[in-house]
């Protein structure tokens, strides 16, 4: 079972000096936070805001690379969570074949947003992610921790 997720936003995590991509399902019942690096967060942010940078960023380059040979991203799936590391698969079609390529969720999400491809999470990942822990963590955040992406 997989659930379709939407990117709800990006937050700065001051405790880990990292960024969190917040994924939610359509019913807003499940939330999946994914910790990503600064440059990946920047790339996801540009895609979310539909900003075209003057020069192609790494994921724009990735998209051009696929476009050059008509390879299409069909979907991305967050497949597993292991010791705080998330795993993802990028599903593509190229010529008449389908491919599933191993990737980090950050790259998969950045590419999916640029390809208008849906993002899914496997049930086991959502189950493993303790929402209680997350809510507690979110409660501890101060308002000034939000909206710091441009720093």
């Amino acid at each position: 079972m997989i659930t379709q997720m939407q990117v709800k936003g990006l937050m700065f995590d001051p405790y880990n000096n990292a960024y969190i991509v917040i994924l939610r399902d359509e019913n807003q019942a499940e939330m999946l936070p994914i910790w990503v690096g600064k440059s990946e967060a920047g790339s996801i942010s540009l895609a979310l805001e539909n900003v075209a940078p003057p020069r192609p960023m790494t994921h724009d380059f990735m998209k051009s690379y696929l476009d050059a040979f008509n390879a299409k991203v069909i979907s991305v799936v967050i497949t597993d969570l292991n010791e705080n590391t998330y795993f993802a698969k990028v599903h593509l079609t190229y010529e008449d074949s389908e491919y599933a390529v191993d990737s980090r969720p950050s790259d998969a999400i950045a590419l999916a947003l640029r390809s208008q491809a849906p993002i899914f999470a496997s049930e086991s990942v959502i189950r493993k992610q303790s929402s209680e822990e997350l809510e507690q963590w979110l409660e501890n955040l101060k308002p000034e921790d939000f909206g710091k992406l441009d720093s």
């Binding site: 690096g37 600064k38 440059s39 990946e40 020069r55 192609p56 960023m57 790494t58 994921h59 380059f61 990735m62 051009s64 690379y65 696929l66 050059a68 040979f69 390879a71 590391t85 795993f87 990028v90 593509l92 190229y94 491919y99 390529v101 191993d102 990737s103 980090r104 790259d107």
Partner: protein
């Protein structure tokens, strides 16, 4: 695009990545390239820290537990049979370098526009040659920067990131 390697008739100059230098003042990395003819002249390109680290990892042939962005691009190529033939630093405008990546698959050639950082990060992973046009080589910055670079590297000793 056919077999044409450059817009001008002048032959391209092949470069090799010599090293990646950290500029901690600006959180950027300097990619130092040299000609493969043994001459000491250098060609420097300023890149972001993430791209610079990606190039450094490729130089060190370091393997990360999870594929980084440029490893993923290489992985797409391996799945589809796309070959990265070469990259060319084609232009410089307002201190910004432009690169073209030459790809090939089953006789179909394609070129894509890229920043030098992405182009170099991919070229190193695919063992593709890196070229610069004569024009861009002549207009390179860094001819008077060697002393400054040496100073920066000396300063960096002992202050490498943990």
């Amino acid at each position: 695009m056919g077999e044409q390697t450059s817009h001008s008739a002048e032959p391209l100059i092949e470069l090799i990545v010599n090293r990646v230098v950290e500029d901690s003042n600006t959180d950027t990395r300097i990619i130092v390239l040299t000609r493969n003819n043994g001459e000491a002249e250098t060609f420097m390109v300023w890149v972001g820290s993430a791209e610079g680290e990606s190039i450094r990892r490729a130089l060190d042939t370091a393997v990360t537990p999870r594929p980084m962005s440029h490893d993923l691009i290489k992985s797409f190529g391996e799945h589809f049979g796309i070959k990265t033939e070469r990259i060319v630093l084609t232009d410089v405008k307002s201190s910004t370098y432009y690169a073209t990546v030459y790809l090939e698959n089953k006789g179909v050639a394609r070129t894509i526009d890229a920043r030098p950082s992405d182009a170099i990060a991919l070229a190193l992973r695919c063992h593709a040659p890196i070229y610069v046009t004569q024009d861009v080589w002549r207009r390179r910055s860094g001819q008077n920067l060697d002393a400054w670079l040496t100073k920066l590297e000396t300063k960096n000793i002992g202050t490498q990131e943990v």
